[in-house]
Symmetry: C2
Subunit: 246 residues, 2 copies
């Protein structure tokens, strides 16, 4: 069954890339014989692969399929050089992310040496309401999704993370008004995020461009540059959309 296979994949987390069969069966809540059989089958398709000893890891084929045809690829490809420049400019982290359910999903993240702490990872998730790009994208999402966020739990990292619905509501309104979001100390006391939207041809935000910098009063100084880069990425994106490939 398909759902079981997905459960198996989800047993792997960014921290633990290799697991044993019994470990998988425990995490996925599957019978061990089922797990064994499914792992064998998935391995046959290259979606999983066996490492040294009895370990199992995600297979190259899954990576290949996921990357090959995803609409994400274009976005990432287009944004990469801009992110590079941005990283140099701010001297810390630059990241590109999209909204997935109630989480923010990081498509790409570049860091300069000696940058402030940053919990995000490429292909990693964080609760949308706890991050600058998350609040920004949520502010432009369907009203129903916003309601869901307001109704749901609001996980916090520090005392400054948005913890109650009222504060979230005003943060969303402010995000729409300003066109950007800052997250001073939301995740780490010493760090501050700054996020702006990357817009498609129709004006709807498809992704967030953000930087993580030290949490001091120089944060807003990066805003103009960030906006300019986001605008440019949008431009190139629309051009790439019009005439695919190269």
């Amino acid at each position: 069954m398909l759902a079981r296979a997905v459960r198996i994949f989800e047993a792997f987390s960014p921290g633990e890339t290799t697991l044993s069969v019994s470990e998988i069966s425990r995490r996925a809540g599957l019978h061990i014989s089922t797990t064994s059989r499914l792992v064998a089958e998935l391995t046959g398709h290259g979606l999983l692969s066996r490492g040294p000893g009895r370990t199992v890891q995600i297979g190259l084929r899954l990576w290949e399929l996921g990357l090959r045809a995803s609409p994400t690829l274009t976005l990432r490809q287009v944004a990469l050089p801009f992110l590079k420049d941005l990283t140099h400019l701010v001297g810390h982290h630059a990241q590109l992310s999209v909204l997935e359910g109630m989480d923010i999903l990081f498509l790409e993240r570049l860091s300069a040496p000696g940058a402030v702490v940053n919990l995000s990872r490429v292909a990693g998730r964080m609760p949308a309401t706890a991050t600058a790009p998350g609040v920004l994208l949520l502010a432009h999402a369907d009203p129903e999704r916003q309601e869901e966020a307001l109704a749901g739990p609001l996980p916090t990292y520090t005392r400054r993370t948005i913890g109650d619905p009222d504060r979230l509501r005003s943060a969303l309104a402010e995000a729409r008004r300003n066109g950007f979001v800052t997250s001073p100390g939301w995740v780490e006391h010493v760090a501050c995020g700054l996020a702006v939207p990357v817009r498609e041809a129709d004006g709807s935000p498809v992704a967030a461009l953000s930087v993580i910098v030290p949490n001091d009063d120089r944060v807003f100084g990066f805003l103009p540059a960030l906006r300019a880069v986001a605008m440019e990425i949008g431009l190139v994106l629309r051009r790439a959309h019009a005439e695919p490939d190269t």
Copy 2:
């Protein structure tokens, strides 16, 4: 069934990232009602997603799962800054690839503006025997895999691509002797590949580092730099392997 789901994923190619349900059913050779049901189910899991109109595309979740825990991620992450430098140095393309079956699979590819033509893509495949990194990695693979390559068909791009087993055999031997492979005009007449191995702690090559440059007599001039970079990637890789994460 699982095999069917994989067939569906494989219906998507790098060129065509969005398909209709009937198109998928045709390519995957599945009954349309089966396809419809499976697509719906896969969409539910986020492995596929529906675009505008009735189009279907690869879902973000597949990308996420594939990227999140793959051993590839470390390799790519480590190599990325080195590839960037290399791209600047040679002024054309730099790529990182691994051997998958009889194909070479490109993990990362960076290009300088105005570079020579290059058919490769990130997450794309090419026949191993037709490329420099492919022949290099094949030369260090199990003997049985080499035999399979020698026995199998040898697809060619130009008249200079390796087309017969004898030439392949001597190319493999030469690759082992030299520790590098050049591919003058194998894929495009005007371009030449140059590939060296990236080695693990035990000395076995895990990937190939290669550049694509114009097909003239300056090709060998890049060899020392390429070797130095490959060595350094291997070094960092071993360190990252010893103490995971950061």
